[in-house]
Amino acid sequence: MGIDIPASIDETLTLLSESHYIADRSLATTLYLSLKMGKPLFLEGEAGVGKTEVAKVLSSALGRKLVRLQCYEGLDINSAVYEWNYSGQMIEIRLAEASGGIDKKSLSGDVFSKKFLIERPLLQALKTENGQPPVLLIDELDRTDEPFEAFLLELLSDFQITIPEIGTIKAEQPPLVIVTSNRTREIHDALKRRCLYHWVDYPSAEREFQIIQAKLPGIDKQLSAQLVAYVQHLRDEDLFKLPGVAETLDWAEALTQLDKVALDSEAVDNTLGTLLKYQDDIAKIRGSEAAQILERVKLELAEAS
């Protein structure tokens, strides 16, 4: 069952938080506009700040189908938009030949028809299901090469795809499009201009605390306050890869599994691998540095309470 799109920014915020996605107002504003104006939403930000999650939450909250296109280098039309069913076509030709009297022209029309068209994500996204257009997630667009971006231009501005043998296929209702990028390269302006842009930042301490509470309802309040403060401190350090929200959640999960109710140096050292993913970073933080940050965190929390 589909649910109507929210009617205001506040409703958008509520919709997201009901699905346990704690967004800040800036994201809600942009998302609301994107839904209302029918423009794709372009989310850029560091890895693990919850860009992909927006699309997943949107699809579940609105009860729409999620069509996901994971981008990679060398992604082409055949795997992103459509492909012909070659074996099917071969058999069709053979059968026509066997029955004799082939009319080449009508055969080519038969062979290159929708019957033999295999739909890939972008084409699927133009279809409505139960009268509701799907949510289309184009994930990590920066992983593809520039030529692929050009394929997307027609889709993102007019929500249509042109197949030379068949013609132009237009969406009955435009899908809700979310494009994400980790910014390993700049995406071309032509594509960005067709979208509403939003930079997803690391959350504030307060919001990160809410996120943990929403995602891991059973977690100890004191522990989550401590680990949020710890991660926030870690983000001020000079590291190759700063931990994102996804890492904070992993860490919280790990600590709960270990039955911890408060942080201690040993637990931090043992579970650092859930937060930091580069050996240099771990070597730098583990031990005295980790203990120092812990001291500071405890002091701050004691002062605050």
């Binding site: 205001s8 920014i9 107002r25 800036s26 504003t29 942009t30 609301y32 506009l33 994107s34 209302k36 104006m37 423009k39 372009f42 850029e44 280098e73 060398g74 082409d76 012909w84 070659y86 076509q89 071969m90 030709i93 080449k104 055969l107 080519s108 062979v111 920066d142 992983r143 090469d145 030529p147 980790n182 910014r183 390993t184 390269r185 700049e186 302006d189 960005k192 201009r193 509403l196 842009y197 939003h198 930079w199 000079d238 590291l239 190759f240 240099d280």
Partner: protein
Amino acid sequence: MDKEEHEGRITENILYFSRLLRAAGLPVGSREVLDATKALALVGISSREDLYWLLFSNFVSRSDHRELFDQAFHIFWKNPRIMERMAGLMLPVMRVEEDDSQQISRRISDAVAPGVEPSKRAEGEETKIEFDASFTFADSEVLQDKDFEQMSSREIEEAKKAIKELKLPISSVRTRRYRPGGKSRVIDMRRTLKMSLRAPDSIPLIYRSHQLRRPPVVIICDISGSMDQYSRMFLHFMHSVTNDRDRVHCFVFGTRLTNVSRHLKNKDIDVALENASQSVKDWSGGTRIGFCLRQFNNYWSRRVLAQGAVCILVTDGLDRDQTDGLEKEMERLNKSVRKLIWLNPLLRYEGFEPKARGIRAMLPYVDDFKTAHNIKSLIDLSKMLSTPDQKNLHFLEAISG
């Protein structure tokens, strides 16, 4: 309250605001303005914050522009009178209030008040040398071998001309994308089927093969005091490479790292170099190689080294810092690129031995170590880069079976 008039004013305001942004260098077109107006009609004005993000999502499309937008927003929407002032954008000179102008960026203040500080273009700072038409072949040969450091100013001019002609033919790499034809034996089913409908009895097979593409190039050049004469030459080299191929990123460093890619994209070399040198604050100073490479690794590597980049590092390896962490940063850099080439002008001396600690720390992590002290060495470099490296060939053979 007259609602209609109220809305009319806001549209006008957005228009003026977009002009301010455009003047500050953001690519804001009429399409964005229309969309912003449409968005405003949907949301209405309830709070300043909503207005901020509404305009942000429509007008900003790069994360580098966030800061400029932020400043522009706060200046423009704080001071309602600025609108009337903006209305007079045609007027030659305007001034922002003093307390405002102190903290805002040059680009914004220039955009709000153009012409307040006319940029003084260096006139006669560098007198152009008249060209001697009798420049012979022999001369250019001599020039090729001459060290940049020993060149007279006339010769430098000649050298710059020669460098302009230099290309950087780094061998192309195979992408995962296909193109029709070629030697590879992968069948192109789609075109084969099409052909079969045209051919009478048989199905002629049509092949496709991998497309080749030139990899991205990242040049990181040392501009510290000890590299003085060479780095000026290398700026010319970087400019000619930037304008010859796509996906080139150029960085210079002394005590800190500066990205000069965008400045060097300007076709006019004088404008390009002037813009580049204005953005660099540490010309001919000390060197902190380790520190600068860390800046590069942490901030830029993920953004410019994707898709198999080749990295050219130009430095003499003489580090002011006690090479703290240099080794680690070199290792990381080496691991993130397809090929790391070190150009070192010191290598020209016979019997050069890597004694300096910096050089010793860096050497194990480079794939190629070349000299770059005259034009000939740069030409040699071009040749070296254009021959595909063995390692790569084996790899290609392995995956193509």
